[in-house]
């Protein structure tokens, strides 16, 4: 019995000492969660990253569903489309704050597709607070600001260095490719559409194929026009 005391004392001391090496993590905001019990179970088992992945899949499904299906079947007039994107993204990022793709995807959808730049900027600012040196976040914030001003050229110029990054969502590639197409920068547009076509994500394959055909036709017409001009 005489050994028990010292062993327990040693246990408390070293366990308490190592506790100081642990970084404190805030609890996920369960009030935001659509599935609080499931989220709590995952967090308790130490599977935060996996919980974030499951919620990301749910976000894909939500954003992929038709507007009426996405939330209320009878939404009030002038209600924003997909109001759940921001809280869902916040939930995912509270589970895994370093989930770069989720932050970029949600902010991109909010800023470039749904014209809700404020929410997008909030997400990006939170990311920048966490990783102040992240250049991709800084560029994204600038691109959102240019988009708000209605300057598409500057949007793609700001985003272009990061489009090769594997974490860049296909949705953003599609948006950038379309802006290049509208601006008449066909080489850049072709490269991005070809990348979308080669990617494993089938969501944009059809759009990319159609746009590449359009670019081909456009290039043919330009050549013919130049020949006639001569």
């Amino acid at each position: 019995m005489r050994f028990w005391g010292p062993v327990f004392l040693f246990y408390f001391l070293f366990n308490g000492l190592f506790a100081s090496f642990e970084r404190p993590i805030s609890l996920p905001d369960f009030s935001l969660s659509k599935h609080p019990v499931e989220t709590l179970a995952f967090v308790n088992l130490g599977l935060n990253r996996f919980a974030a992945d499951i919620d990301m899949i749910r976000l894909f499904i939500y954003y992929g569903a038709s507007e009426a299906m996405a939330d209320d079947l009878n939404p009030p007039k002038n209600a924003p489309l997909y109001p759940g994107i921001f809280p869902r993204a916040e939930e995912i990022l509270s589970l895994d704050p370093y989930f770069n793709y989720a932050r970029l995807y949600a902010a991109g959808a909010l800023a470039f597709n749904l014209n809700r730049s404020d929410e997008a900027l909030r997400l990006m600012q939170e990311g920048l607070n966490l990783e102040p040196e992240n250049k991709q976040y800084k560029s994204y914030i600038a691109a959102i600001a240019f988009s708000k001003k209605g300057d598409p050229q500057k949007v793609v110029d700001t985003l272009s260095p990061y489009l090769k990054n594997p974490d860049t969502p296909s949705m953003l590639l599609n948006i950038s490719a379309f802006i290049y197409f509208r601006l008449g920068e066909m080489d850049q547009a072709t490269t991005l559409y070809q990348r979308l076509l080669d990617s494993r994500n089938p969501e944009y394959h059809l759009t990319a194929r159609k746009m590449l055909q359009k670019i081909k036709r456009h290039s043919y017409k330009t050549v013919q026009f130049k020949k006639l001009k001569r």
Partner: protein
């Protein structure tokens, strides 16, 4: 040392014939199903989801088997009276404990290696390129399970039922995964709540120190590994103290 090794190999073989391959086959089936399903759903993030779901399943399956093996190991040998035969040989109780625990760990290592092999095949089929963080994640999981298993061995010798041992060590696992959040709450609170929070931090394990996902460095690995080894050793010493006093 030879006696310890003989006991370890015996424990490993017994576990292999009993359960390991059923568990791995089950894991393989679930993983293949998940990869097909999640691959369709996760679009751009197929690899990340496949990686995380695989590692989560490896952790859970190894933990469940570790807790079950360790909670039943000694109680079964006491019930079947095999322990009398073993301890009647020229073998002391420390050697017996170390042999059994080593066998248990070898079984868990084998389960993890088989599951990781299967997981890696699936990842490579999805054009994943090797990254050292995978290896560190697996080592981190093994160390976490080592801590939980050591605690489960202690509880199995301490209590008289294997269910109680599994419940105690399972609770320790849950609370041990919750300590970063408890630390956060403790920092934000004051008075009695803060004292209780600090007491919890001294009492429960800190598995977060072994979550070496994509972000890790040498200091994190060294402190985490030494913590896990120290923690497991303390529980093994406590188990040895109980085993010494036990009368069969």
């Amino acid at each position: 040392m030879k006696q310890v090794w003989v006991l370890a190999v015996d424990c490993l073989l017994e576990n292999i014939w009993n359960r390991i391959f059923i568990l791995v086959a089950l894991f393989g089936g679930i993983l293949i199903y998940l990869s097909l399903l999640l691959g369709v759903l996760a679009v751009d993030q197929e690899l990340r989801v496949l990686m995380d779901s695989g590692l989560a399943l490896i952790e859970l399956v190894t933990l469940i088997s570790g807790l079950y093996f360790s909670a039943t190991l000694f109680l079964k040998e006491i019930e079947t009276k095999t322990i009398y035969l073993i301890l009647s040989r020229p073998l002391n109780r420390l050697q017996y404990l170390l042999g059994r625990v080593l066998g248990l760990l070898l079984s868990l290592l084998l389960i993890m290696l088989l599951m990781s092999g299967l997981h890696l095949v699936l990842l490579f089929l999805h054009h994943w390129s090797w990254n050292n963080s995978y290896l560190f994640s697996i080592v981190g999981i093994f160390l976490k399970v080592l801590m939980a298993t050591a605690a489960a061995v202690f509880f199995s010798l301490f209590s008289t039922s294997s269910i109680a041992a599994i419940v105690f060590s399972g609770s320790l696992w849950v609370l041990g995964n919750f300590t970063p959040e408890i630390r956060f709450m403790t920092q934000k609170s004051s008075g009695l709540a803060a004292i209780c929070g600090r007491a919890v931090l001294f009492l429960f394990p800190h598995f977060e120190l072994l979550n070496w996902g994509a972000r890790f460095n040498r200091a994190m690995i060294l402190s985490g590994a030494s913590y896990a080894l120290l923690y497991s050793s303390v529980f093994l010493v406590l188990s040895w103290l109980i085993l010494q006093r036990k009368e069969f």
